[in-house]
């Protein structure tokens, strides 16, 4: 589904990602950990194709297409979908209309979809105008439900969300990744076969892991990936030891030199 090879990315001339290699298979969900400023969001933004994120080396292959320099809309139409953390307000564009645009002409029951994320009463409101943290998340999910992406990019699904909304967000993300509702009567094998949506999720708290079945995880540190393991295990480890371990792991023999390097 997604293959990232030796990806180097600079933001305003400053190198942020320094050689990322990552492959995510169809139906697989990958969890990205790492301290603030390590480059996680930069990776997501680069995958989506935002301006200001300059790929200086390496490539991004999605569904067999080299999208390293493709415009955003082309990536979106190929099937990359992203939940924005702080999306802009677009005045005069009702959320319902936005959802319709996301579907690109696909037959949809927007009202029914909106009900699932308790958003049916907000469809007439301009997209993101005065939305709370939870409302933004639900609106983003609703748009993604319409978009039906093959790869879901999600930056901190739990940020700014209360516990009740977290459950809703969690279940919805799971449904998006599974391609079917949770309660659906399907065998595990059927679920696995049906599951073709991949996910790349950034989390600090790990709350999302209670809802989605994440196969692999890795820690991003100072623009590099390290320490691949089961996401739960990484989370436990970070909870106990912080990110110090990563430093040691990444540094190898040259431990002393790295600590002097800026951590941003």
């Amino acid at each position: 589904m997604l293959e990232i090879r030796d990806l180097h990315v600079s933001v305003q001339g400053t190198p942020v990602l320094r050689g990322i290699n990552l492959t995510i298979e169809a139906g697989e969900t990958f969890i990205l950990f790492g301290p603030n400023g390590s480059g996680k969001t930069t990776l997501l933004m680069t995958l989506m194709g935002f301006s200001g994120y300059t790929v200086t080396r390496g490539s991004i292959i999605f569904k067999g297409h080299d999208i390293t320099h493709a415009p955003m809309w082309e990536r979106a139409r190929l099937g990359i979908g992203m939940s924005f953390q702080r999306p802009p307000t677009i005045h005069g564009l009702p959320t319902g209309k936005m959802v319709e645009l996301c579907g690109r002409g696909r037959e949809m029951d927007i009202q029914a979809m909106a009900k699932k994320v308790h958003f049916d009463k907000f469809l007439d409101r301009d997209v993101n105008a005065g939305f709370s943290g939870g409302e933004i998340k639900r609106s983003e999910l609703l748009q993604l439900m319409a978009q039906q992406p093959g790869l879901l990019l999600f930056d901190e699904p739990e940020s700014g969300v209360d516990l009740e909304n977290m459950a809703l967000v969690g279940h919805t993300v799971r449904d998006l990744l599974d391609g079917m509702p949770e309660g659906c009567n399907a065998t595990l094998r059927e679920r696995a076969r049906k599951r073709s949506t991949s996910g790349l999720i950034i989390t600090h708290t790990g709350h999302i892991l209670q809802y989605v079945t994440a196969d692999r995880g890795q820690v991003m540190y100072h623009g590099k990936l390290c320490c691949e393991d089961k996401p739960r295990r990484i989370l436990d480890h970070i909870a106990n030891h912080g990110y110090q371990e990563c430093l040691r792991c990444l540094a190898g023999d040259s431990y002393g030199k790295i600590v002097e390097a800026p951590l941003a």
């Binding site: 809309w73 979106a76 979908g81 802009p88 677009i90 005045h91 564009l93 936005m98 978009q147």
Partner: protein, 387 residues
Amino acid sequence: MSIPDLSRFQFSGGENAAPIADLSSLPEEDKRHLVLAGIDVADTNVSGAFMQLNHADVHCDTRREGLELMDIRAALKKYDGLPRHYWNLLSPDKDDVTRLAHEHCNGGYFVRVKKGVKLTEPVQSCMFIKHSGAGQAVHNIVIVEEGAELHMLGGCSTSHGARDAAHLGITEYYVEKGGKLTFTMIHNWGSSTTVLPRSAGTVAAGGQFQNNYILLNPVGSLQMYPSMNLDGEGAVARFNSVIVAPTGSYVDSGNRINLNAPHTRGEIISRTLTTGGTIINRGFIGANATPVKGHLECKGLIIGNGRMHAIPELDSCRDGVELSHEAAVGKIAQEEIEYLMARGLDEDEAASTIVRGFLNVDIMGLPAPLQRAMQEQIDTLNAGGGM
């Protein structure tokens, strides 16, 4: 504000043009222009209708009890010169426009809704210029008596063949105690028309005035700065404008609200877009009493090589007033474009979606068919590659 030379226009002739009993009998070409100015030529769902062609009152139809609608010249005769309402809020000496309009008054309407009468359907008025070089100098008087309600739809248009015409329009609005007036004006002038409205109004205690203004089509030069005085306690005024200026259009437009009594509120919101023309976007809220509230919002978008000059003003010397303004001149935000592109819209689709939202006429609460007609025009504007 300099006023163009108006001496070349003809302010008389053709005053006795044949009446048009049925607007749907107008030539197709003219009808098309009128529809773009928001005129319902089928003339259904209206409480009354008035049409002026060049200098003649050609159509006047009143369908509701409590509604008075007639040519201003007839009203002046009937009511002994309307001493309490004619040139009461504006002075003929204000400028060249008022002087000429005073001297040559060649039409306009007098509309009055009687005390307590609430008209659910709008009254439509239409100012149409069909002759090149014609100078329309109209004087309108709108009176909403105590507790009455009126929605006035004013469409103004020039026919396809009329070159270099002028429209001078004096309008005086009187909203009495607890009255409610919504005045929607839609302009569809030609690219060589000079348009110079001069309007003023007064709103008494508890009265409400809402003004909607839409200009989506080219105009030669347009200059207006309607002024509302909120003279009674609790009076409210709102101005909403959506203005587009393509190459060749010169638009100098603003709204003024004077909060003269306690608990009055004023709001001015304008969305302006230049695709090559000039827009001077003025706004003024003055507070002369407390407590009062006023908010002014002028947002301008430049696409192409137009000019946008926003001049928001707030003025008060009273302790305790609450006045605010937001002004912005800029391009479409890259952040918004990218948000839509991340959902699969290409750059052009994203830009036109944002512009459509920006030129939103939903807040005006227009009758459904008119709302649709305006939205269709905004969509064509987009599709025309003007963006």
